[in-house]
Symmetry: C2
């Protein structure tokens, strides 16, 4: 535990090499990682976590770069966790691998980390939350969680953020399908990026229709808040009726609409803080995380510490031959865990 103590001290001292070591320890579930996270727990909770998700090619990384610069101009420190759940290798399209801006990479107020699915114990979503906890405890003001894709794993990761931003582009052509695919419920802010391309206004309208913002209210279709320059940041919110998801447009490569996006993200954060929704979300996140840790510990007990692998290997041939069912073999393995050693009692 000497190493853990050193890392904890390094994090308290805001030492970046110690941070990088701590993140690696957690990401790879090396000895002592749960002890480290356990010690850090009391100091987690000050950072604002912002999820950035959307289909490949939507320009999330470019937008993330612009958000970093915008936040730095406002004096906020920013960490980025770029997650690719579908890639067994480090995803080439992710911000962490492609960023080449010296203004960002040499700035101690910015930290960028790529994570890839490499059979993370207990799942990538759990590990992502834990890496964010380390960054949060270190003291970053904002944590951007960038995910590629809109599958179930990506949605789970996005749902762990305080504010979820979904990025779409006109040419993806499947805006509506994406929305149907369960993202509706978790996105707080919708961004139509590359809004200078054909089809942007139509996509904004489709999103609005999906959101029901304008159902039975067609005359509002051309209100100015969909223009990047004129868009008001007050309009999407009605605090007394809950948060109405905002629909914004950006041209990330030119920086257009980025300030408004940051304003809206901040506005959402104020809304969830003042309404008490942030406390509710964080309580749910902690309950979910505790459940995940329990299941990961059980999995470790049965497969890494217990007799599970031996019983499985011994019984598999019978299952293949149809003599024993997987359910019968599973019962034998589960019975073993209760009769097993007392290391965890």
């Amino acid at each position: 535990m000497v190493e853990i103590d050193g890392l904890l001290q390094g994090i308290r001292d805001r030492n970046t090499p110690a941070l990088a070591k701590a993140v690696s320890l957690v990401e790879n579930a090396r000895d002592g990682y749960e002890a480290l996270l356990s010690e850090l727990h009391a100091t987690v909770g000050a950072a604002h976590r912002i999820g950035l998700t959307g289909p490949p090619g939507a320009g999330k990384s470019t937008l993330a770069e612009r958000l970093i610069l915008g936040y730095r101009t406002r004096g906020e420190t920013v960490a980025v966790v770029a997650v690719d759940p579908t890639s067994p290798f480090s995803g080439g399209a992710l911000l962490g691998d492609r960023i080449r801006m010296e203004s960002v990479t040499l700035d101690p107020g910015v930290y960028i980390r790529s994570m890839a699915a490499r059979g993370a114990l207990g799942g990538l979503a759990t590990t992502t939350t834990e890496v964010c906890d380390v960054l949060d405890a270190f003291g970053f003001d904002r944590i951007l969680i960038e995910t590629v894709g809109v599958g179930q794993s990506e949605l789970t990761i996005a749902a762990s953020a305080d504010t979820s931003v979904l990025v779409l582009v006109p040419e993806s052509g499947d805006g509506i399908q994406v929305l149907k695919a369960g993202v509706m419920e978790i996105a707080d802010i919708f961004v139509v990026n590359k809004a200078d391309r054909p089809g942007a206004e139509r996509l904004v309208q489709e999103v609005d229709v999906m959101l029901g913002l304008r159902s039975g209210n067609a005359y509002r279709r051309m209100t100015p808040h969909h223009s990047p320059r004129e868009m008001g940041v007050e309009s999407p919110v009605a605090a007394d009726e809950g948060w109405s998801p905002a629909v914004l447009t950006t041209v990330a490569v030119k920086g257009e609409g980025v300030e408004q996006l940051i304003d809206t993200v901040e506005q959402h954060y104020r809304y969830v803080t003042e309404s008490g929704e942030l406390d509710t979300r964080r309580r749910e996140r902690l309950a979910r995380h505790t459940r995940e840790v329990v299941e990961r510990n059980l999995s470790t007990m049965v497969w890494h510490e217990g007799e599970g692998e031996r019983i499985l290997a011994a019984g598999l041939e019978g299952v293949v031959q149809g003599e024993v069912s997987p359910y019968r073999l599973a019962q034998d393995i589960v019975a073993g865990i209760r009769k097993g050693g007392s290391a965890h009692e």
Copy 2:
């Protein structure tokens, strides 16, 4: 267990209402579902399972309809399991909900079932495998597993098939991103659907480049096997060097290329059967399934039968206040399972 015995008899008698009841029992994890699956296990294994995956809008459902008709013409019975991992409701775009072809729905040799993620115990991939096991035991010759999207959950489901088909379309525009996103490793056959649209030939070339079929071999770029009509079914295979993924083109709405696709799927099935790869895949599937059943049983023990929920509820406030870490609380919950009742011993 009277109900289970009745369902088992109904499945042996190839009674379709009994099949529907058995599938519902398994899908909803109702009392006795593991007993039913355990009894069926010895008779599972004759069906050829074919995964059909790809981005929304790729035309998978239309292709599935055509495959059903093609297999029926060849005298094979077909079951379809349409899975939407990202949808909490039954996905509107899935075959099960949109098929209106009387020739198919009134045919007792065809069975179509939609499944949606509704917090399935132990995950949708596990439940999908179990539903396929019921259909397999019932005696269907072919089982099509259709998934929407290319996220991690979808890939896990696709990887459980004997033959995995990835469907792409020219206008999706993110063919290469999809390929980067981990699908490469699991697809046995690539289909460029809507191949009469602009960009189809380019997408075929991109897929080929990704597959390395033509690296350093540029002169083969225009070989005729990419034309729907002329495509040979022998070309993609070299049995002595393993299976080289095939790249086919289809226009599903017109039925073009569908016969060649079925031929290639059959060819892949012969290849995996004769090479012994099918046995390897099924052994891995059974090992993976046994692991999943173990983890599901552990989860049930801790959350549904044990004291886990009570300990979590009692300790959560301390976690929220930062006084107790999720890791400490998780240890208390895990300790409870070992001291708990003996129902499973």
